[in-house]
Amino acid sequence: MLVYIAKRVVYTLPTMLGVALVCFMLVHLAPSDPLVSVLPPDASENLKQQLMVLYGFDRPYWEQFVKWLWRALQGDLGTSIRTSRPVVLEVAKAVSNTLMLSALATAIGFLLGTFFGFVAGYFHDTWIDKVASAISVVGVSVPHYWLGMVLVIIFAATLGWLPPTGAGPGGSEAWKWDWEHVSHLILPAITMSVIPMGIIARTVRALVAELLSQEFMAGLRAKGLSELGIFRHVVKNVAPTALAVMGIQLGYLLGGSILIETVFAWPGTGLLLNDAIFQRDLPVLQGTILVLAMFFVVLNVAVDVLQTMLDPRVMRS
């Protein structure tokens, strides 16, 4: 078991290096000069050269990469061109906001998803199954940014129950767990939970239906196991996979929150990325993506390891 976990972790290192390389190359994919956003349009060639040297853009790519990676490993992701603040600080604050939102969304999605999945799988091929499955198809098909707008239209614009955007008075700097702030979290979290809800419901439905159709279930029933006992048995078998899917979905939400954060002006990584893209703040773009992608990789490994510990059968060679 320990060897398996060690292996899984070591196999991740090349992937992480690759991820870092892709993040690094993003900057050089940009058709415009990396300095275009800081330089005035009439900057002299001389000033341009000086800045190129200052930022290290005059060195060969591989050298830039090694230096960048070395600094990144020490927690230095460079300086934001827009705010002149260290990228790490900007990213850290945004990540914690996004994490709060995505964790809540994943939790909602997990609860609803397992509920619908269980119901659909348990009443396999009945009208209940059809309804529950339809809900999950809607969940994976709905453009979530649009759903966010619709919720804003209903609950903010029309009913006025909840605030449409932002993170409450004082922004995320003055976050408190009171209604004034938490109410800002509700709409984006519900919007965001729709995708994991759909995916978890699909997974759980398939697992439950398959499990219940197996012969040993009939055997358990024949032995006089109560419906509650059977339910317990199903939960025990479905839980590891459902939890694993939930973990992966959390990762997707962290990386995919940009659209929803834009709709709700939630001060997370999405909004940060959005600003970075449109103001061509490449160090921030690079740093945010690096942190999010690494988080996703680590989360994947963690889920794999946890799943193996819960259910050693999934151990892959």
Binding site: V3, A6, K7, V10, S317
Partner: protein
């Protein structure tokens, strides 16, 4: 037969008794994906120095527990996998040389696999599957289809009913007949039957076995018949080879081997079979447990860990195949008077009786 242009078969080759296939010191080790910190170089010794010959017109049975290397041997003969060392010669010629191009070799030697469904392309009709081989060898599609239908008829499947069907519409026995027809479509000299009837019901199995015997006669075929079922092998084979952990334990004429076997492993195998019959009860204990791991096979005689007669020397010295009677060989220290095994004398005296 258009496929023959590369190598016309002289009359001598068809005569039975002529040496058809010769397998010499065949070795195949499969490397295992090394772990995190090495253990690199760990291998499964699937086939570890196997030699035998097959004469034209005979049926050689190969028996042994799963994992003994039977199937690997078949795939090596078919050149589906490359051996690490050793050679396979047909009419004294190695396949893949100018004398015997691989493509020609593969029209001479054909194989029928165990899983009748998996060995047919699910997207091809039966007749297309059978015609595919000849077409690869340059037979025109019309002629290939015509031949396919003839063969379907020959293996007992009405072409009108079956030629245009897909594999999933047939029963296991019908599919295996198709596989036999497919193998015969290239007009081979030799058929490798790798557990070809093992997955079939007993009644269907008997029908297919009889079909195989008829076809052998009609087309002058030579069979290598691989099975774990000793009764079936006894019914089919002229000679039998017993394999254990990648090596030949014993080889000899079927009747001699079944009535007077020399290797304790063969004894044990037969023991598990004969114990069903009260008149022929043996003293031999049935085989206990699974065969040892072929990644790290026992030293010396590979059977010594499960052998009732094992002595200290058995774990240190590897017995060679020794003739006990003409045409009957066994790899056991007890058959060799000079080996120093305490039972060696007694055993050979028994044999002399």
């Amino acid at each position: 037969m258009p496929a023959d242009t590369a190598m016309p078969a002289p009359a001598a080759e068809i005569n039975s008794g002529h040496r058809l296939l010769e397998v010499t010191s065949l070795v195949k080790h499969f490397p295992i994906k090394s772990g995190l910190f090495g253990r690199a170089g760990a291998v499964v010794r699937a086939v570890d120095g196997v030699s035998f010959a097959v004469d034209a017109g005979e049926t050689l049975g190969i028996v042994g527990e799963s994992g003994c290397g039977k199937s690997t041997t078949a795939r090596l003969i078919m050149h589906l996998i490359a051996p690490d060392s050793g050679s396979v010669r047909l009419f004294g010629k190695a396949a893949g040389t100018l004398d015997l191009p691989m493509k020609t070799y593969r029209s001479r030697v054909q194989m029928v696999f165990q899983d009748s469904y998996a060995s047919l392309n699910p997207r091809m009709t039966i007749e297309d599957s059978i015609a595919y081989g000849p077409m690869v060898h340059g037979v025109g599609s019309g002629e290939a289809i015509r031949r396919a239908r003839q063969l379907l008829d020959r293996v007992g499947l009405d072409p009108a009913r079956f030629a245009g069907r897909y594999p999933h519409e047939l029963s296991g026995g019908q599919r295996q007949r198709v596989n036999i027809a497919r193998a015969l479509a290239l007009e081979p000299r030799m058929l490798l039957l790798d557990e070809a009837v093992s997955a079939l019901d007993k009644s269907v199995e008997a029908q297919v076995l009889n079909l195989l015997l008829d076809l052998k006669e009609e087309f002058g075929l030579t069979y290598i018949f691989i099975s774990h079922d000793l009764e079936v092998v006894r019914f089919m084979a002229d000679r039998v080879m017993v394999m254990y952990l990648g090596r030949v334990a014993e080889i000899g004429p079927t009747e001699a081997l079944y009535t007077d076997c020399r290797h304790p492993y063969t004894q044990a195998l037969l023991g598990s079979l004969l114990s069903m019959d009260p008149d022929r009860r043996t003293e031999t204990a049935p085989l206990a447990g699974d065969p040892p791991n072929p990644i790290d096979p026992p030293s010396g005689c590979r059977f010594h860990t499960r052998c009732a007669f094992a002595e200290a020397m058995c774990s240190s010295r590897t017995p060679a195949l020794e003739a006990t009677n003409p045409g009957h060989e066994a790899a056991c220290h007890m058959t060799d008077l000079a080996s120093g095994h305490s039972k060696a004398r007694q055993h050979s005296q028994e044999a002399a009786r």
